[in-house]
Structure formats: structure tokens, C-alpha cells
């Protein structure tokens, strides 16, 4: 019973894991990343920045592509939030206060001067950055520190018409998804085996201390197989509308000899098989001696005259004749 429960749980978990792996493979694709966008960002300012702690993940590969029309110069960067916050202090900006994947953003506008304190390309604290005309893209691995992502207008331009494409993923994510799928399937298979009472490996001979003690067997015999129960018909047939069952427990020793044991003794062993045997029980019927036919309907009596001609007679006429059995004659 316990094995069944554990097996069922394993199967369930394994299937969930397998589905998860499959989902990761489907979402990330062979390149291991998920891409969303381009998404338009409504701003005519010079800076778009994520607030501190909006990006709270690590070890995730991100790719940010910022595009602006008319070949305007644009800058994209990721840096420690302390640096970014100090850099943009007092600058008008659109701050992303909440971001959820695949793409859901909440923003607020912070008023300030419409000029950056210094050219972003002149700073040395960017974890990753890129600048270009009409667009810029960065690819980076999120570090173990609080970082902010920024999109900045360079020079005297602005970010009107900004579109952002965002991609994130895991290095080798597709193959890790395969690993999850296989691992999940393995778990499900193990669970199925457990449900059936089978094991992947042979169990040790160790005996669980908490298990019931085995009965003592005479000599050096020890049971190698226990066949717990096969019902037998213990009573007679009663027009075939109900059966009586009797459960008999036996074990089979090394020599293949079956020994009947009690139900209490059988409780100490593992059930390895059940056999149901229907035993025909024939009611004894009144009539001729046990050596002869047992039912009148099945016997035909004849007498043979002096010419060798057979004449059928009824059972009530038999007392007038001496009985001879054909079968006995044939056998003799």
C-alpha cells in the first residue's frame, strides 16, 4: 500500500517535471531564450530606467534592443543601481517601477532637467553598454548585485518613438529543458515500477527491524516464495448462483514444495502472486453401485435373447435379469 502511494506520488511529480521541461524547451527554443517585442514606450524624454530592485534576478541572460526612429543616437546600458540612480539624479526620466515577464510594465515620470550630467559613453561603471544610431543592443548576464537597465538619448535628441525588444534566457536552457524532461520521465517510470511492486535494483537482504517476525520452519528449509491466497470452492454448487470461497496460504520452499501456512504466518511475507482456482464439487447421487453408471438418464439397459437380438428394458425390469456390463467386458 505504501509503495503504491509513493509510486503514485513519484509518477505525478515526474510527469509534472517532464511537462515543465517540455514547456521550457517550447518557450526558450533551441537558442535557450525567450524574446518579446518590439514594444513601444511612450516617452519624449531623454532617459528610461528601471527602478532599483525591479531587476532582482541573477544568472539570467538578457538582451535589450532599443530602437528609435530617424537614426537618432541612442544608448543602452546595465549598471549597478547605485551608479545609475546617482547618475540620473535630477534628470527627467521615465522610471519603470514594475516589470513582469513576458512584458508588463508600470512606469512613472520623474521631472527634472532635460540633460544628462555627462555622456554615458564616457563612464566606466557600466556592466554592459552599447550606443548606436537608430538602435543599440546589449547582451549580458545579470550579475549578483542590484542593477538597473537604462535607455538614454545621446546628445540633444530624445527617445520619442522608442521601441524596446527584450529577450531573456538561460545559457543552455533548451538542453536543460531536455534534462528536466528526461529526469521527469525517469521519475515517472520509477514511480510506475514502485506501484507495481518492482524495483530497479535488487533489494538488499537487510531485514527491517519493524517488520513482523517470520515463523520458524523445520529443518533448514526457508521459504523462498509465498503464494498467499487462492480461493477454492469449499461448498457445493447451488445452481451456480453463488460461490463459497476459502483462502489458503502456502509458501513454496527451495525445492518447489508448497507448504500450507496460516493467515497469521502469511502476514510476515510478501505476497508475490494470487491464484484463483475454481474447483468443481460433485454432489453424490443415489442409484447404482459406485462401479456402475451413476445416473439413470445416461444408462440404457438391454437383454439379449437366444438369437443374440438385443431388447431394451426399463430399469424397473432389471430385477428379472442378470446384469452384465459392456465396458467390463471390453476391458477384460
Amino acid at each position: 500500500m505504501q509503495k503504491k502511494a509513493i509510486g503514485t506520488a513519484l509518477m505525478a511529480v515526474g510527469l509534472v517535471v517532464a511537462v515543465l521541461g517540455l514547456a521550457i524547451m517550447a518557450v526558450l527554443g533551441p537558442d535557450g531564450r525567450f524574446k518579446t517585442g518590439p514594444h513601444a514606450i511612450d516617452t519624449d524624454g531623454i532617459a528610461v530606467v528601471t527602478a532599483p530592485k525591479v531587476i532582482s534576478w541573477e544568472n539570467v541572460s538578457v538582451e535589450i534592443l532599443a530602437e528609435v526612429p530617424a537614426n537618432k543616437p541612442v544608448f543602452v546600458g546595465v549598471a549597478n543601481s547605485v551608479d545609475v540612480q546617482a547618475y540620473l539624479k535630477g534628470v527627467q526620466r521615465l522610471e519603470v517601477t514594475k516589470f513582469t515577464i513576458p512584458w508588463s510594465v508600470r512606469t512613472r515620470t520623474i521631472e527634472g532637467r532635460k540633460a544628462l550630467p555627462a555622456a554615458p559613453t564616457a563612464l566606466d561603471w557600466w556592466r554592459a553598454h552599447a550606443a548606436g544610431l537608430g538602435g543599440a543592443v546589449i547582451k549580458t548576464q545579470l550579475p549578483d548585485e542590484t542593477v538597473s537597465a537604462v535607455v538614454l538619448a545621446v546628445g540633444s535628441s530624445n527617445l520619442r518613438g522608442l521601441q524596446v525588444t527584450f529577450a531573456y534566457g538561460l545559457r543552455g536552457g533548451f538542453f536543460k529543458g531536455i534534462g528536466l524532461l528526461l529526469g521527469g520521465l525517469g521519475m515517472a517510470w520509477a514511480g510506475r515500477l514502485a506501484r507495481r511492486g518492482e524495483t530497479i535494483w535488487e533489494e538488499d537482504d537487510e531485514v527491517d527491524d519493524e517488520s513482523p517476525s517470520q515463523p520458524d520452519w523445520a529443518g533448514d528449509e526457508s521459504p523462498t516464495e509465498l503464494i498467499p491466497a487462492w480461493p477454492k470452492h469449499a461448498g457445493g454448487r447451488d445452481d451456480g448462483d453463488h460461490d463459497e470461497h476459502e483462502t489458503v496460504y502456502v509458501y513454496v520452499d527451495d525445492q518447489g514444495i508448497e507448504h500450507e501456512i496460516t493467515a497469521e504466518e502469511a502476514a510476515a511475507y510478501e505476497v508475490v502472486g494470487e491464484h484463483v482456482e475454481h474447483v468443481e464439487h460433485v454432489e453424490p447421487t443415489p442409484g447404482p453401485p459406485s462401479s456402475g453408471p451413476t445416473r439413470d438418464d445416461d444408462v440404457t439397459y438391454f437383454w439379449i435373447d437366444e438369437h443374440g437380438v438385443e431388447h431394451e428394458v426399463g430399469a424397473h425390469e432389471l430385477h428379472e435379469f442378470e446384469l452384465f456390463d459392456d465396458d467390463d467386458q471390453d476391458n477384460s
Binding site: G179, L180, T199, I200
Partner: protein, 359 residues
């Protein structure tokens, strides 16, 4: 059955290891000075300083130094120019022995570098600061200690980062860093021998000795005032105390009776600024950077190292204030009763003589 479960768990762990990205548990607004960048910062500093020396112009120093440090170094260039001598190129080849990086949640950022200067045979305990993200790292303090001076151990977190101490945080110490700095300045300016709460260390004894010597000049009255600037850098020591970088502003006022002139030895920084000496009233302003150790417990603060010099001077209001001078040659001689003591420098004591103009 247990094996099946274990095997299944292992398979899952192996397949899923590192797969699922996880949010950081300690999302904190913090920044540290990157140790890997320190070597580049030191190289850049040396390169700019040598460029300034080559030009005999202190202006380039402003991109690698700031505050009193810049004032003191600019003063040394000024002295060189006035005395028509060239500065020696900065080929000190400082040997960095340790770098300590605190954690910050906002600017300014700073870090500490301890290095041995084989030329001067002193240890330099430098502070580099970045005031805003658009500015470079600047050297703001560089007190020097004797190699025999043991700096107190600093307390580190599990990431090896040191703890800063707020200027007004005096828990576990006899005084807060700011309180200790102020008390130290008061002790230096005190005309009495009483030094409440401050150890009578080598620096104090030397300053007092110089002051007494100047006042022994006939017809000359010298007053000296000390003030501590706001403490910006302090680190927690292992004993619960603090290592504090203190900047002290010192003002020496000379009141010279008519017919007498106070002058300094040729080649000294004071003489470079006051080439004609002082007749009447003259003032000298100094910056002193002191590495102050405030021990945990009830022990009084004491100086472990110092660096300073004249930054401006004027006499009879006829000489305009000059941004600077003297420099690495501020005299602090004398043996120290304290372990380690302080670095010593050549002395430049004033002398009084009859003024030709009044004779």
C-alpha cells in the same frame, strides 16, 4: 523503494541544476569599489602625477586628487616653482599591501589602499574617493605611518568587506569619530598640558614643541588654532573601535613687534611663500591629515600617522593668499614613546631678526 526515490531525486537534481533562475535573496542597493580596478586607478594616478611634474604645473593633479590632498600637493608644486627647483618624478613604485572596500548605498564611494613606499620607507594609508558617478576616483587622503606601526585589524563581513563607521557613531568607543577628531583638534590647540580624553602622542608633542619654540622668539607672539573638518572616512576595527581619517586645519598667526622680522630657512616651504618673512602680522595655514585610531572601550584616541603642509600664507595683508605650498616636507620630528611612532620630516623653524626696514 528508498533507492528509487533517491535515484529519482538525483536525476531531477542533475537535470534541473542551475536551470531555474532564482531571485536574489539580498536585493540591496549597494556598491563597492571594484578591487580589480584598483591597480588601474593607481597606475592612472601615477601617470597623471608624472604628467603634472613634467609640466611643472599642478593643474593636472585635479583629475586624480581632491580636497586637502590636492591643496597639499599643489602647494609642493608652488614651492618648487617659487624656489625654481624641479619636482622629482613620481617613481615611488608603491607596493600595495591591502585594499579595503566598504559597501555603499549612495555616493560618494571610497576605498582604502595600504602601500609601502620604498623610497621614503613609510607606509601610505590612502583613501580614494568617487564623489559622483561622473567623476573619476580621486586621492583624498594619504597619511603616512612608519613601517613599524601596526594598524589595528579591521572588521570584515563574510564577503570580506569592511564596515564603515558613521561620523557620529560612538558606540563601544570613548568618542565618536567626529567627536574624537574635534577633541584631538582641541587638544592640539590647548595651551595647557591637560588633554582630556586624548592620548599625548608623538604628533601632539611635536606640535606643542614647535609652538613653544616659535613663542620663544623675542618680540614675536604666535597663536595657533586648530579645527577638525567633518569626518568622512572611518572604518570599524576588530576591537570595536574605529580607524578615522581626520583632516585638521591649522592657523598660525604671527604678531611681530616693529623692527623685527620673522624668517625661515632658505628652501623651506614657509620661506617659499613668505620670501620676505613676516614683519607686522603674518598668517600661515596648514592642512594636516591624521590617521586617528579610536580604540574600542575606554582607551583614548591616538594618531598613528600623518601627512600635511602649508597651503597658504600671507603677511601684513600685502601678500595675497596663495593656494598652497609646502608639502611633503612638513616637519614632525622627534622620537615617539608610542609603539610605532610617526614619520619624521625635516624641520623648518622660524627665526627672528632685526628688520632692516625698521633698523
Amino acid at each position: 523503494m528508498r533507492r528509487i526515490v533517491l535515484a529519482a531525486a538525483a536525476a531531477l537534481a542533475l537535470s534541473g541544476c542551475g536551470l531555474v533562475p532564482h531571485p536574489r535573496r539580498d536585493v540591496r542597493l549597494e556598491q563597492i569599489a571594484d578591487k580589480s580596478d584598483v591597480a588601474a586607478i593607481l597606475d592612472h594616478y601615477r601617470e597623471v602625477r608624472n604628467a603634472a611634474i613634467g609640466l611643472l604645473d599642478p593643474k593636472p593633479l585635479s583629475i586624480v586628487e581632491s580636497g586637502p590632498m590636492l591643496a597639499i600637493d599643489s602647494g609642493s608644486f608652488e614651492v618648487s616653482q617659487r624656489l625654481s627647483r624641479s619636482e622629482s618624478e613620481d617613481n615611488r613604485n608603491l607596493q600595495v599591501s591591502s585594499i579595503e572596500t566598504p559597501v555603499f548605498s549612495r555616493y560618494p564611494l571610497w576605498f582604502m589602499v595600504t602601500a609601502f613606499d620604498p623610497a621614503a620607507r613609510v607606509d601610505v594609508v590612502q583613501i580614494f574617493e568617487r564623489h559622483t558617478p561622473t567623476e573619476p576616483w580621486l586621492l583624498v587622503a594619504a597619511p603616512q605611518t612608519l613601517p613599524s606601526t601596526q594598524l589595528p585589524g579591521l572588521r570584515h563581513d563574510r564577503h570580506g568587506r569592511v564596515f564603515r563607521v558613521a561620523a557620529n557613531d560612538g558606540r563601544g568607543m570613548i568618542k565618536s569619530p567626529q567627536g574624537a577628531a574635534t577633541a584631538y583638534a582641541d587638544a592640539l590647540g590647548s595651551m595647557t598640558d591637560a588633554l582630556p580624553g586624548i592620548a599625548r602622542d608623538d604628533f601632539i608633542k611635536k606640535r606643542r614643541s614647535e609652538f613653544d619654540d616659535a613663542n620663544r622668539l623675542e618680540g614675536v607672539t604666535v597663536t595657533q588654532t586648530w579645527a577638525a573638518e567633518r569626518v568622512k572616512q572611518a572604518l570599524r576595527t576588530e576591537d570595536g573601535g574605529a580607524l578615522v581619517w581626520v583632516t585638521l586645519l591649522r592657523l598660525d598667526t604671527y604678531q611681530v613687534q616693529p623692527g623685527i622680522k620673522v624668517s625661515w630657512a632658505p628652501g623651506s616651504p614657509q620661506q617659499a611663500f613668505l620670501a620676505h618673512g613676516i614683519t607686522g602680522v603674518g598668517k600661515l595655514r596648514y592642512y594636516h591629515q591624521v590617521l586617528l585610531y579610536v580604540p574600542g572601550g575606554d582607551d583614548p584616541p591616538r594618531a598613528l600617522g600623518q601627512f600635511g603642509g602649508v597651503v597658504s600664507a600671507d603677511a601684513d595683508a600685502a601678500l595675497a593668499p596663495v593656494p598652497a605650498p609646502t608639502a611633503s616636507a612638513e616637519p614632525f620630528p622627534g622620537a615617539s614613546p608610542l609603539p610605532g611612532g610617526l614619520p619624521t620630516f625635516p624641520s623648518a623653524s622660524p627665526t627672528a631678526s632685526a628688520s632692516p626696514s625698521n633698523s
